[in-house]
Each structure stands twice: as structure tokens, then as C-alpha cells.
């Protein structure tokens, strides 16, 4: 389970995330939606321990990230938006490095082979990451996330640049992880995918929460009928939020 309470993050004087609170339950996929610069990547990076919040608390699988960083991180897996894997490692070595970092080398070869097969990377097993295309690097990053037994998965735009088969496999693996009780927080701009894949949606704008709930709850919040798509709901809610912000500003 992932619990975020009052997460606030400043970059210098710029407020990137403003008192964000939400939860991702066990066996749930929460879609994180928002316009560019809304603070999605900052939230994911804060949970991944890359940036440190100025205020708030992050609990990963019951462990406080600030107080018990290593135990909390042991339960986490993070897929960055534009992955830059170690170019001078082979695909296999890269996976092995991640497995070593999480101290999960048991049956590593079997798990690595299975993952490489699923993501069509078996042929590239002994190739340097340097030689991989952008999409293959994205697949490798996804494979790295599944090489250890993470209980909380953080995925930042994971489907961008991946071919349809790879995307299908990744979605399948996300669903399988969810069914195995994992908490998954996924940031995406692909609203149709979010609509099909996510159990709940969290819409944020300018570092603040705009709306949170199931698709039906969001329909109600936006005062739209059930035939409205997530795209319609998203546009309505973010426009309303911007209008409220402007009205408050003036």
C-alpha cells in the first residue's frame, strides 16, 4: 500500500506539489493524470526517493520513506518517463545489477529470461544498452521494474515509445501485479488506456488535487453523463480548476 500525506515540494521558490494526499490500496491501479507541469513526475520522483519533499509523509508498504528509506525502497519499483539505462552494460548485466541492488538474485536467470522473452529482448540479451533503440530501452526499464518482487510500482508514462506487443505485455503484467496485491501508481497522458486499466483516477493541476475517484465518481464530479469519456471529464475538470484558480487570483 502507498500512502501519501500532505506532500509538498518546492524547487527553489517554485511550488511544484502543494499538500498532496492520496492512497493507492493493495491490488489497485491508480492513474495519475494532469496537464504538463502539473507535478506528476515530481510526485513519482518523491515516492521513488529521488527528490525529498519539503513537507509531508510517504508510507511505502507501511514504511516511512524519510525514516526508513532503504526498507521502503526495497518494496518499490520505478519506471522513469524517459529511461536512460547504463549504456555500457549489456541488457542482461543491467537486469542483474538491478536484481543485485534489491538483493534478489535467487532464480535470477529464470526470471530474467522470462522477462526478456516477454519484452522481445531475448535476442538483445548480450548487446550493450548503447545499441538499443528508444523503445527497447523503455522495455528494459519496464523489465527492471519486474525483476524483483516490488509491492508498490511507480510508472511514469510507461507506454510511450513501446511497440503494441510490448505495451500489451506491460499492461498484462500490471494487471497481473495488481491481482497479486501490488499497489500501482501510473502517470499517463493516454486517457483511453487509463480508462481501461485504472481502478481509480487522480487528476492534478498546478501541484494540487483536482479530483479523485472511480470513473463514475469523476463523471458525477464533472456533472457529465455516463457516456462522457475520461478525456471529456479530464478536460472539463482541469478547465474548471484553471477558471477557479484565475478567479481566486483576480
Amino acid at each position: 500500500m502507498l500512502v501519501i500525506e500532505g506532500l509538498t515540494k518546492y524547487y527553489g521558490q517554485t511550488l511544484a506539489v502543494d499538500g498532496m494526499s492520496f492512497e493507492v490500496n493493495d491490488g489497485e491501479i491508480l492513474g495519475l493524470l494532469g496537464p504538463n507541469g502539473a507535478g506528476k513526475t515530481t510526485i513519482l520522483r518523491s515516492v521513488a526517493g529521488i527528490v525529498r519533499p519539503n513537507a509531508g509523509r510517504i508510507l511505502v508498504n507501511g514504511y516511512d520513506l524519510a525514516a526508513n528509506e532503504q526498507r521502503a525502497k526495497r518494496s518499490l519499483a520505478f519506471v522513469p518517463e524517459t529511461p536512460n539505462p547504463y549504456e555500457m552494460l549489456t541488457v542482461y548485466e543491467h537486469l542483474r545489477f538491478i536484481a543485485m541492488a534489491y538483493d534478489t538474485l535467487d532464480k535470477f536467470d529464470d526470471r530474467a529470461s522470462a522477462l526478456l522473452d516477454r519484452f522481445d529482448l531475448a535476442e538483445k540479451r548480450n548487446h550493450l544498452v548503447l545499441t538499443l533503440s528508444k523503445g527497447m530501452k523503455q522495455k528494459l526499464a519496464a523489465a527492471c521494474a519486474f525483476i524483483h518482487d516490488a509491492r508498490v510500482l511507480l510508472l511514469d508514462e510507461p507506454l510511450i515509445g513501446i511497440d503494441p506487443k510490448g505495451a500489451h505485455e506491460l499492461k498484462d503484467m500490471m494487471v497481473a501485479s495488481k491481482e497479486a496485491g501490488c499497489s500501482i501508481l501510473v502517470s499517463t497522458h493516454m486517457l483511453d488506456t487509463a480508462e481501461r486499466l485504472c481502478d481509480r483516477i487522480l487528476i492534478i493541476d498546478r501541484g494540487r488535487k483536482v479530483a479523485e475517484g472511480t470513473l463514475e465518481e469523476l463523471h458525477g464530479r464533472a456533472h457529465m453523463g455516463e457516456d462522457a469519456t475520461l478525456e471529456d471529464v479530464f478536460l472539463k475538470l482541469t478547465e474548471d480548476s484553471a477558471a477557479d484558480e484565475n478567479a481566486a487570483g483576480s
Binding site: 527553489g12 521558490q13 521513488a48 526517493g49 529521488i50 527528490v51 525529498r52 528509506e69 532503504q70 526498507r71 525502497k73 526495497r74 518499490l76 519499483a77 520505478f78 522513469p80 529511461p83 536512460n84 539505462p85 547504463y86 549504456e87 555500457m88 552494460l89 549489456t90 548485466e93 543491467h94 545489477f97 538491478i98 543485485m100 541492488a101 534489491y102 550493450l128 548503447l130 526499464a141 527492471c144
Partner: protein, 559 residues
């Protein structure tokens, strides 16, 4: 730590394997190795030559005048102080520790203590510094070994090496700590930041003023420099710099009893500063996030020699800061619009403007030099020198213009569907490269003319010929630029460079050769200039026609 070492080792082994397998990487590596060997060979030659010198100063071992060692001490002290001041001032905005993008994406999120990662990163930096120090130690040992040996310099050399390394460790640790504190406490303790900045600036001001006042009093710049830099106030302010300087110069200036304590103190300070850095609770990753992206951009730019993204980023930042306004609006139709767009990019991304200003400064210097001595140099010869200088400047412009041309051709998937005839587009591309140079030539000729007058000077015909030569040169390179347009591919770079150079030599060499022959036949400057211009125009036309044909057949999607 074992896992991080394993990561480094595997990357190193893979890098070596890749270098050995790829000629593209192996050849530059072998050249670098040859250069290093040559460097050491020079050192050994130097050593032999020094051995043959008479020994005039037994204590120091080297036969050099007495005033040299204080100057060497002052030079080393000044250099080390400058390094400290510069790094301290930079530390407020940029960390010395730069994490790579791979480390941000794949190392930061894993359950390894960030203190351990920080320590590993620092150790890597220390090893790099120590390796550099070793490189120079070996060189200087080869060069001055015999003399250092005569003054008991073997241990001193090691002490000098260790002192340089320890000093670098100290600077790295202090600056990293300052950066961590400054990043997370920008609002609070602002006075501390200003105190450090003021101290750094005060050291520089104290040194400069001290040297100037001393020089005014004594008239001896060397004496005032050594006196100021040995002043107790300064040496106390930057005590570790004094210790390092004493130890670094000890192999040649002689070892003194107090140096052992200085070494111990330097060692203790380096250790204490490491403890201080590792005791910080701030997140060490965060200061690196933006720097890593910028660092990666710089690396890519230097690998591909494509600085357009960096320039665009700089432009964006300046616009954010409100420093520059977009003051050139779109203009023209068809090829004219393309030409205007290229000029607009040149001005906006400032690279060309900077080059223009620098070159203008160089030319002004040449002009001033000629002005001071123009009684000795007749205007005709001064004009020839200036014309040759402008020809040299053309080379510099061509380096930039061919690169811009190739980058623009890379955007052919946008340009090609436009309803613009191929030859017009090629003309626009060529003119985009020629125009800044032409403006520069005319400005330079006007300046020189205003200073010396242009009557009978070859600069007047040169003002017409040189832009045409540049035009011919770029035109003839169009086809090469289109065929080998990928600036990121080193093989294409090599071929484009070689072919482009040949084309440029032909475009410049042929008209110039004809002009020189005609001038030698006693036809003055004007007729040869007209002949050279005609040849340049013909070459331009041929180049544009060839470029247009290649462009028509060129498939922009075929990468």
C-alpha cells in the same frame, strides 16, 4: 560498495571491449595514447637536457636564478587560490558531483544508502584527481628527476603529489557541502552564503590591490607579486593553500622541517571535510537533477559538434529571465522566408553574434596594431595583410555555416514539401551562410578605410571578392552537406569534412590562383579581382545547380 564496484568494473570492461572492436573509437584512443607517450618522451628528453645543465644552486639542485623560486611559489599559490575561489563561487549554483542520467533513473531509486552512493561518487572523483596528479608526477619526475633527486626530492615528489591530491579532496568536499547547504537553504542563512562569497571576492581584491600598490611603490612587478601573495593576511585566510604550495614546490625549492606538520594538517583537514560532507542530511541527488541533463546535453553536443540544442536552451532561459525579446518577425515568401528564418535563428541563438563580436575584436586589434606601425607599413601592404586576415576569418565562418547548412538539410522533411524550387532553396541556404560574413567584411573594410583611407588599397576589391569566394565555397559544399547530413555519425562527419575541405580549397584556391597570376603579370588589383569574382560566380552557379539536383533526389526520411 561491492555492488557499485562491480557496476563500475563491468562498464569499464565493456567500454574497453567496445573500443577495441570499433575502429571509430579505437583510432582516436590510439592517437590519444600516442600523444601521451610523446608527452612522456618529451619529458625524458627534457630530463636529459637538464642533466647536462651546470649545477649552480646546490641546495635546490637546479641552476636557476634566485628570484625564480619565489615567483614559482607565488604562481602555484595564486593558481591554487584561484581554483578555490572559483570553485567556491560556483558551488552556490553547481555541484562538483554530477550524477549521470542512468544514475538518476536506476541508481537513486534502489535500496542503497544515499550516503554510500555519495561516498562512492566522491571516491571516484578523488581517484580521478589522483590519477591526474600521478600523470604529472611521472612527467615531472622524468623531466626533473635528476635534480629533485640531488635535493633529496624523491620523498618530496611523493609529498607534492599527495599534497595536490589532498588539496583537491579538500576543495571537492568543501564545495560539495556548500552546494548541498545552498541548494536546500536558499531562503535561510543567506548571510552565510554572502559571507563565503564576500570572503572569496575579498581574497581576489586583496591580491590585485596588493600587487598594484606594490608595483606602484617599487616598480618591480615580480617583487610586488611575491610580497603580496606571501602576505600573512592572505596566507592565513587560505592556510591550506599555503601548505599545499609549500609541499608542491618542495622538490625543487627544498624540504623544510615544518613541512611535515603542514602535510599532517592538510591530511587532517581533508579527512574532516569528508566527514562534514557525509554528515549532511540533505538529499545529495537533488542538486544534480538539472545539472545532469545539462551535462548530458553538453556531452552530446561535443560528441556531435551540434550546439544548436544548447543554444536553444540558453535562448529559452534568457527569455524566461526576460533578458531578450523576440524582435525579428517573420518576413518574405518562399526561399526568402527560409533565408530570413535562418538569419533569425543565427541572431537568436547568439552563437554567430558572439563569433562576430570576437572576430571584430581581433580585427580591431589588427587594425590598431597597423595604426601604431602604419608609418613603417605602407597602406598597400597593410591592405594585403588585412585582406589575408579577412580570408582567414572566412575559414572560421565556413566552419559554422557548413554545420548550420547540414543541420538545416536534416530538417528536409519539413523543407522539402514546401513549394520552393530546389535551386532557390539552395541559394537561400548558401546566402544564410554568406550574409554574416559579407556584413563582417564590409564592416571591417569600412573601419580600416575610416582609419587609414582606402585609396589604392587592395581592400576595396577584396570587399567584393571575399563574399563571392565564401558564396562559391558554401555552394560547392551543398551536395556534400546533403549527402552526408548526419552530424551525429562520426563516419559521415569524417567524409563530409574531407570532401567539404577539398571543395572549399577548390572554390577558394582556383579564383585566388588566377587573381595572383594576373596580379603578378602587373595588372594591379582591380582586373584580377574581377576575374576572381567571375570564377567564383561560375563556381557558385555550378555548386547551386549540383546541390539542387542532389536535393531533388534526396530522400529526407532515409536515415
Amino acid at each position: 560498495m561491492k555492488m557499485l564496484l562491480d557496476l563500475e568494473l563491468r562498464q569499464f570492461v565493456n567500454y574497453m571491449k567496445l573500443t577495441l572492436r570499433s575502429p571509430k573509437r579505437l583510432i582516436p584512443a590510439l592517437l590519444m595514447l600516442a600523444y601521451i607517450l610523446w608527452f612522456f618522451q618529451m619529458g625524458m628528453l627534457g630530463s636529459r637536457e637538464f642533466r647536462e645543465l651546470p649545477r649552480g644552486v646546490p641546495a635546490a639542485g637546479l641552476a636557476v636564478p634566485d628570484f625564480v623560486w619565489p615567483l614559482v611559489w607565488a604562481g602555484v599559490f595564486g593558481l591554487l587560490t584561484l581554483v578555490l575561489v572559483y570553485r567556491l563561487l560556483r558551488a552556490f549554483s553547481q555541484s562538483l558531483i554530477v550524477f549521470g542520467l542512468a544514475e538518476i533513473d536506476f541508481l537513486f531509486p534502489v535500496p542503497i544508502s544515499c550516503r554510500l552512493i555519495m561516498l562512492f561518487k566522491l571516491l571516484k572523483l578523488y581517484v580521478t584527481v589522483a590519477a591526474f596528479a600521478t600523470f604529472f608526477l611521472i612527467f615531472y619526475w622524468l623531466m626533473f628527476g635528476a635534480f629533485a633527486g640531488s635535493s633529496g626530492g624523491g620523498p618530496s615528489l611523493l609529498a607534492a603529489w599527495a599534497a595536490v591530491t589532498l588539496y583537491a579532496v579538500l576543495v571537492i568536499n568543501v564545495c560539495t557541502t556548500v552546494n548541498l547547504v545552498a541548494t536546500f537553504r536558499a531562503g535561510g542563512r543567506w548571510w552565510l552564503a554572502w559571507a563565503v562569497r564576500l570572503a572569496a571576492v575579498a581574497i581576489v581584491i586583496f591580491s590585485v590591490v596588493g600587487v598594484l600598490v606594490g608595483y606602484q611603490r617599487s616598480g618591480d612587478i615580480a617583487a610586488s607579486l611575491t610580497h603580496t601573495l606571501r602576505h600573512p593576511v592572505l596566507t592565513t585566510l587560505v592556510l591550506p593553500v599555503k601548505w599545499t604550495t609549500d609541499l608542491v614546490t618542495s622538490p625543487f625549492a627544498g624540504w623544510k622541517p615544518g613541512f611535515g606538520y603542514e602535510f599532517a594538517a592538510l591530511f587532517a583537514l581533508a579527512g574532516a571535510s569528508l566527514a562534514l560532507t557525509l554528515s549532511r542530511k540533505e538529499n545529495p541527488y537533488e542538486p544534480s537533477l538539472n545539472i545532469s541533463v545539462r551535462h548530458a546535453m553538453y556531452r552530446l553536443a561535443f560528441c556531435t559538434w551540434d550546439f544548436s540544442k544548447l543554444r536553444a536552451e540558453a535562448w529559452k532561459n534568457r527569455r524566461k529571465a526576460g533578458g531578450v525579446r523576440t524582435w525579428i518577425s517573420p518576413f518574405g515568401r518562399g526561399a526568402v522566408a527560409v533565408f530570413w528564418k535562418n538569419s533569425n535563428i543565427s541572431v537568436r541563438t547568439s552563437g554567430t553574434v558572439i563569433v562576430l563580436i570576437l572576430l571584430l575584436a581581433v580585427l580591431l586589434l589588427i587594425g590598431l596594431r597597423v595604426a601604431f606601425t602604419h608609418t613603417a607599413i605602407p597602406p598597400r601592404e597593410a591592405g594585403i595583410i588585412a585582406a589575408l586576415a579577412l580570408l582567414y576569418v572566412m575559414w572560421l565562418f565556413l566552419l559554422f555555416s557548413l554545420r548550420s547548412l547540414r543541420l538545416d538539410v536534416k530538417q528536409a522533411n519539413i523543407l522539402k514539401p514546401m513549394p520552393i524550387r530546389a535551386w532557390k532553396l539552395m541559394l537561400a541556404e548558401t546566402l544564410s551562410g554568406t550574409t554574416p560574413y559579407s556584413l563582417f567584411v564590409w564592416l571591417a573594410v569600412a573601419l580600416v578605410g575610416a582609419t587609414f583611407g582606402l585609396s589604392g588599397s587592395p581592400l576595396v576589391p577584396a570587399a567584393f571578392v571575399l563574399p563571392l569566394l565564401a558564396h562559391a565555397c558554401i555552394s560547392l559544399q551543398l551536395a556534400v552537406g546533403i549527402i552526408y547530413r548526419d552530424v551525429g555519425d562520426k563516419a559521415q562527419q569524417l567524409i563530409a569534412g574531407a570532401l567539404g575541405m577539398s571543395a572549399a580549397l577548390l572554390a577558394i584556391g582556383l579564383p585566388l590562383a588566377v587573381a595572383i597570376i594576373l596580379h603578378a603579370l602587373g595588372l594591379g588589383f582591380v582586373l584580377p579581382a574581377i576575374a576572381a569574382s567571375c570564377i567564383a560566380i561560375a563556381i557558385s552557379a555550378a555548386g547551386i545547380a549540383l546541390g539542387a539536383e542532389v536535393y531533388k533526389r534526396h530522400d529526407p526520411t532515409d536515415e
